[in-house]
């Protein structure tokens, strides 16, 4: 890896403010991006600890470590924290750091709202985590919060959980508004939409998805609150309501939500692979249309999470066909990434390792998704570990690996230092082995009949569960390597140039490393 050595020293006439106030009151997209990223990493470690509790209990059959109610709290909170605390804020943090620089803008469109979007999150999560210490414990009904389990049978902390998710929703919606305004209004002259970097396209579309569906989640959990507190019967059959209706409303949000968690990953990979293949992304136009199609189709498939509720045949068929259809634009993207690599001049630095692993392992997750899409087959798979295997494949070696790729890719730009490549590669290989050891066996126990969300299981599932737990411990421990690498890189490291990576293209690589506090105060001209 040789990087173009070219650097001009820029003297800052005024830097950021000093002390705690800098972080509380900052409107700078780089500062806010860093806060989002550190927040998301700490939530990742916290949610990961809960996963360790889960896997420790499931290491052997029998109930050894925790009581079932606490186990259910762990599975619920693990899901909520990973989705709303780790993956989503990480992507927002990356958007904050990179979008303005990528499009030649001085900052996000609404910098003060940007600050508020971030600072809501620590409070929302303090509220959510405090439910663990409330009487009755934390929410224990799964992150999907189906009624009436959550309404009639939920612990007293449920209403705090609802408030906390409302806060997260407000943060996400404001962030999305900011992204759209930035991308639509602040591109440098000459940067038409079809000249935009793929990460910008991915986030533009993700932001529209967020604005469309986070309010629906807000409606759903408000209805839960009203059923719990205000005597309504949205989901209570005795009062004329319908529990299945909760599932429809929730999954109308829930399905686009999972695409919200993967589209930015697609954007990232579309940056990393061309860089380390030293070759332009294949099929830019089709990549843009593919993201758009995936986003559009994501609104039409929600009931594939509900194939077993007793829908009529016409409904099952429609949702089955629509779900299978999404594989087409997704396949276009996978083929385009592979074609980009074909006959490229490839080197496999850490970002490229994570990006390649993403393509392969996300596709495996997609295959299990296709199996789940087959409605009659899903009657066997539904609520089994096969589903757990599927979504962990698309989310962990999918979304999380893309976030790792992005961090390794852009760390030198953020810090001005090259990270420790040996440590990075070690982190990658341990994570890769850990992730596959953890989640691949889950396909088998799921197909063999092991249900999900259970603290104990039948004896025939023991061996694969033990393998999965060992893999989980390995994966969890490896993340501390990453933490060490991050701290090392922030503090010191070989000086990075502006270009950093030989094959990197884009406006962000024209500014020095570390990027100055203010960049593109005058817009660049884009040809």
């Amino acid at each position: 890896m040789s990087a173009v050595v070219d650097d001009s020293h820029i003297h800052e006439h005024h830097g950021p403010a000093k002390g705690l106030g800098r972080w509380l009151f900052t409107t700078n997209h780089k500062d806010i991006g860093s806060m989002y990223l550190w927040f998301s990493f700490s939530m990742f470690l916290l949610g990961g600890t809960m996963a360790m509790v889960i896997r420790a209990e499931l290491f052997q059959p029998g109930l050894q470590l925790v009581d079932p109610n606490f186990f259910n709290q762990m599975t619920t909170m693990h899901g909520l924290i990973m989705i709303f605390g780790a993956v989503m804020p990480a992507f927002v943090g990356l958007a904050n750091w990179m979008l303005p620089m990528m499009i030649g803008a001085p900052d996000m469109a609404l910098p003060r709202m940007n600050n508020w979007s971030f600072w809501i999150l620590p409070f929302a999560f303090m509220l959510l985590l405090s439910t663990l210490f409330m009487e009755g414990g934390a929410p224990n009904f799964g992150w999907t919060s189906y009624a009436p389990l959550s309404t009639t049978y939920g612990p007293p902390s449920t209403i705090f959980f609802i408030l906390s998710v409302h806060m997260m929703g407000v943060s996400s919606i404001m962030g999305a508004i900011n992204v759209i305004a930035t991308v639509l209004n602040m591109r440098a002259p000459g940067m038409t939409l079809m000249k935009m970097p793929m990460f910008a396209w991915a986030w533009l579309i993700t932001a529209f998805l967020l604005i469309a569906v986070m309010p629906v989640l807000a409606g759903a959990i408000t209805m839960l609150l009203m059923d719990i507190r205000f005597g309504t019967s949205f989901f209570n059959a005795a009062g004329g309501g319908d529990p299945v209706m909760y599932q429809h409303i929730f999954w109308f949000f829930g399905h686009p939500e999972v695409y919200i968690m993967i589209l930015p990953a697609f954007g990232i990979v579309s940056h990393v692979i061309p860089t380390f293949a030293r070759k332009k992304l294949f099929g830019y136009t089709s990549m843009v249309y593919a993201i758009g199609s995936i986003a559009f189709l994501s609104f039409l498939v929600w009931a594939h999470h509900m194939f077993t509720v007793g829908m009529p045949l016409a409904g099952e068929l429609f949702f089955m066909y629509a779900t299978m259809l999404i594989a087409v634009p997704t396949g276009v993207k996978v083929f385009n990434w592979i074609t980009t690599m074909f006959r490229g001049a490839l080197t496999f630095e850490t970002p490229m390792l994570f990006a390649c692993a993403f393509v392969i392992l996300f596709s495996i997750g997609g295959f299990s998704g296709l199996m789940l899409a087959i409605a009659p087959a899903d009657f066997q798979y539904h609520d089994s570990y096969f589903v757990v295997a599927h979504f962990h494949y698309v989310l962990v070696p999918g979304a999380v690996f893309s976030i790792f790729a992005a961090v390794y890719y852009w760390l030198p730009k953020w810090t001005g230092h090259m990270y420790d490549e040996a440590l990075g590669k070690t982190h990658f290989w341990l994570s890769f082995i850990g992730v596959n050891l953890t989640f691949f066996p889950m396909h088998f126990v799921g197909l063999a009949g092991m249900p999900r969300r259970i603290p104990d299981y039948a004896l025939q599932f023991a061996d694969f569960n033990q393998v999965a737990s060992i893999g989980a411990f390995l994966f969890g421990a490896s993340q501390f390597l990453f933490l060490i690498l991050l701290i090392k890189c922030v503090r010191a490291g070989r000086r990075a140039s502006a270009q950093v990576w030989e094959g990197a293209e884009g406006l962000e690589w024209t500014v020095p490393s570390p990027a100055p506090y203010h960049t593109f105060t005058t817009p660049p001209k884009v040809v």
């Binding site: 609404l110 639509l184 309010p215 807000a218 209805m223 949205f234 005795a238 209706m245």
Partner: protein
Amino acid sequence: MKEETQVRHGRLVKRLLLMTAAMFGFGFALVPLYDVFCDITGINGKIPGPRQASSQVLDESREVRVQFITQNNENMSWEFYPLVKEIKVHPGQSVKVEFLARNPAAHAMTGQAVPSVAPSRGADYFHKTECFCFTQQVLEPGEEIRMPVIFVVDTALPKDIRTLTLSYTLFDISKATTIKTKG
């Protein structure tokens, strides 16, 4: 920031906030829309109201199995079961079956039964000409009652449906109604 850019943010942000509010409203609109969708498509197993027994020609060439199941909602404490679990009928034939309900509680209660027919495709062809499900049933403590259902299976029932299941869920609506005790 240039003023022109600020103005452009304002309009877009207003539109996006409007879209947010609209989607929040849409989430709540899904509640009545859910019923509308079920009504239009008829895919909810609900039976289209009481009907006069039409003079249907008895179709003796065909036998349809009709099964009866019951369940109590949530905390409903009544004993509630069909006196026959299943019966074979001819389409066009008017049939009467009975259900038993008993209130074991120490106070008077009001119950209401809500029916459902499976498969939902067959619901349109199952006509209940007399049914206790249309009335709120008051039972004194310990009182037991037999409740009749008279039904006709329509001769137009699709040929591939050979079994129909009539399910009743019994709800306790004592709180929602003022109980008039008898005598």
